[in-house]
Amino acid sequence: MISTPLPLSIAPVEQSPGYWSGVLRRFAKDRVAMFAGAVVLILVILALFGPWLTPADPYQSSMLKRLRPIGTDGFPLGTDELGRDMLSRLMVGARLSLFMGITPVICAFAIGATLGILAGFVGGWVNSIIMRTIDVFYAFPSVLLAIALSGALGAGIGNALLSLTLVFVPPICRVAESVTSQIRSRDFVEAARASGANAFAIIRVHVLGNVLGPIFVYSTSLIAVSMILASGLSFLGLGVKPPEPEWGLMLNTLRTAIYTQPWVAALPGLMIFITSMSFNMLSDGLRSAMDVKQ
């Protein structure tokens, strides 16, 4: 080893717990958010390992065992209109439903945050071009926009994901633009400019760390909406195709059984409700954990 030529050695110093460990600590104290987090964790486990955990084959239909009620021997949550095990289908359905809910938000986060940070940081005509374009999309109600785009692009998972992504870019972009322009006006960004740093270094060191958190939290609140919209598209036949288990699609195909087996028919809707509620509560918890005066 070559000894360092520096006169001053970098001795260890008292390291304060960082901002994120504080967020984690506050989040851990929030019981509602922790509960929602646990539910989301279970759903994620189902999504990842569902096919290996199911008690029965979710695709195995049987004309004889159609529309059994909840609590039937061998079918704890009953069967659907083709006699398939509801429990297994709901478990496996978590995978597609979550995938359809989360993927568009992740894609929209990447696109929206980039555009928004750019617009907020650069300002001027770049801001005008980006934000006015976004405003055009913003003018349509999100449900209508998703259906119209999906309808125009044609049915299928890929197109559904694409149209949902396009629906979520504008709101994320707006939030990103507003938090970025707030940070940009802070004196520490001015100080960084005054130290001769270029725009890229300022964004990397000073802007991203301060804006990604709030944009992320906002985006998590969109997951619930995205799940409902994705289920809606499948319900309308614009998303997932049968016989794939997906909660929206299941809700659609079971609606004929609403008078004979209303509880069974309501189960996919219940799952959608629980999941979107959990994501909402999780995002609320994250927001309050991150929102500290410091």
Binding site: S9, Q15, A191, A194, A201
Partner: protein
Amino acid sequence: MSTPILQVRNLTKHFPLKNALGAKTGQVRALDDLSFTVHKGETLGIVGESGCGKSTTARLLMQLIAPTSGEVMFEGKAVGSRDLPLKEFHRQVQMVFQDSYSSLNPRLTVETSIAFGPQMHGVSEREATARARDLLSRVGLEPARFAGRYPHELSGGQRQRVNIARALALQPRVVILDEAVSALDKSVEAQVLNLLLDLKEAFDLTYLFISHDLNVVRYISDRVMVMYLGQTVELGQTEAIFANPLHPYSQALLASMPSMDPDHRTEAPPIAGDPPNPINPPSGCRFHTRCKFVQAACSANAQQLFASKGFEHHVACEFFELNANKNKVFKEKANQPLAETAL
């Protein structure tokens, strides 16, 4: 002899006012034709009230906003020219902001914030960190305890020390202090002022000290520039200005300082009203609307800064000698028993 280090020539900044459709409806004349020189090793104080353009001056000097016209020279080289690129200028001239909290990134530790500047100028992370620790101890914050802290864990005075350390991290020659102690409590302000004096000696610095607090400016400055509505009204040695202000505005400003003597309280406001809006500043001498010595010519003629009493004391009022006599009469009147001025 004094060598100029920073020269400002005819610096002007007008902010356009636009309506919702983007059409120009007017302009804020934040700064008009400002010229002055900062000498190596001195502290030049800039005083004035809100809207006088002192903070705009600081931002223009730091090149954080672009001037409408005029130029800034550092050691004879135009800033931003091929001789002196902006990045090199920023290594030489640094700034401390008023709001100690807003000027530190809340997500970065103190030492990361200080080390950021040098790293932008090619100093290795290790060396920049070592420099940050050294500066922390120079500004009175023990590195072992404070280097790893975040801004919200520090008091206002400690944060302002960190901001000073950050400004010094690039080893600048000139430091612009824009209301750097104004937000601090008096006892903390005294500590930071002492620190600024110590650092000035230790690093051979030149200060441009902007403040609305006349006591502090008088204490720290070698020369003082008084600004009113985007223009300089008076510039001179600190003691000359405080002992014998020539411009009617400087006189009023100094007389507005609260008395510290319970037996000699201020009897009547030296000046009425608020400073006018810089959107449509008064014609001619901008102070003529509030000046007690106003004459017909004042609203017509813009006043230029000119030297009086040698080259040390500049004033932008052509009638100042006349006023001095009137002021004497005024003062004598004021010393008479208070009958007519009774409240």
